[in-house]
Symmetry: C3
Subunit: 138 residues, 3 copies
């Protein structure tokens, strides 16, 4: 069990790739066959496995989510931190706070088009903490 932190300073709503940093944690752990667990310690940002080639994919995901869970929606009572507060919680619940990715031949066994992203759901910049736990055979 090897545990490390990744800190992501977001610049507001959008997705931020962390594949390289997660891969580095796997290399540091020296595990050849196992699992790499990634966890985000927040309820208004998510982790996402997403297509990593065409940036339009992530733009379209934003469009979809913004329509599905509109900022300032009059149905929401909780708006302590503004019109994007409750939508950020809904978006988090509809996506993932943790991912587990197989390790094979000492590498993340991601598909060709899979990248790992932090998805910031708040409009403002935030400091997001991600915990990576690597386990397996050396």
């Amino acid at each position: 069990m090897h545990q490390t932190d990744i800190v992501v300073e977001t610049r507001g709503r959008g997705s931020y790739e962390i594949t390289g940093k997660v891969a580095a944690a796997v290399t540091d752990a020296g595990v050849t066959t196992g699992l790499c667990h990634v966890f985000i310690a927040h309820t208004s940002a998510s982790l996402m496995l997403c297509e990593n080639a065409d940036p339009d994919v992530r733009r379209d995901l934003e469009t979809f989510m913004a329509d599905l869970v509109p900022d300032g929606d009059a149905r929401f009572v909780h708006r302590a931190e503004g019109p994007d507060d409750m939508p950020a919680h809904v978006r988090s619940v509809l996506t993932q706070a943790d991912l587990n990715i197989p390790i094979r031949n000492a590498r993340l066994a991601l598909g060709t088009w899979q990248g790992i992203y932090v998805w910031e759901h708040r409009r403002g910049a935030h400091r997001r903490r991600v915990i990576v736990t690597v386990q397996g055979k050396r």
Copy 2:
């Protein structure tokens, strides 16, 4: 690998916090660095990591889901157990049946605002079975 069960007797649709019971399973296992896996053995109730301070957040989540997947929706063919039967399955598929949470310093490494909840999607009371598996270094 330490495995224990948590039984949650729900009183119908809504969320029920189990953070304390999951934390107790971690303490019992005596693991200092590792992972705590939580699994719900049902397809009409979920697990959720959610903001744990303002109960309005969970009320707003109910409002959102009730609008997104309405009970008695005429599009649904499967209604063997009533108008909330198929919506409960949809809500389960859109959320999580299992969560994995890092353990650090012998504690769940949850963020300040993260609580663990069973989300009952059926209108009636149900007995829900949750399996907790703790692994790691002592």
Copy 3:
């Protein structure tokens, strides 16, 4: 840590049960108490724990998703592979790419009504690769 691959040749959009193949991987690993991790190495197909008794449940899920994320939606810019390309990515992000299931008494500790499915989101046939990682005590 025992790792094996399952290849699923889909015949286009729909769900394909793999519970038996995952259970066989658990048996082969000889683990009595542990966890079985299932991962799909794609961003346009998902894994799903779903009710396994009435096929209408999975038909209703298709109906729901087809309405929520319509093929050919004019909001989507990314359509390199056709009108079902971006919807497949959205459906993947709203569901799961990995599942972790407890093993107890050398078997998957699934609930009575839980089956494991590959959910193909593209209209055409695809070859989908699933990686199963089994860990625990013998």
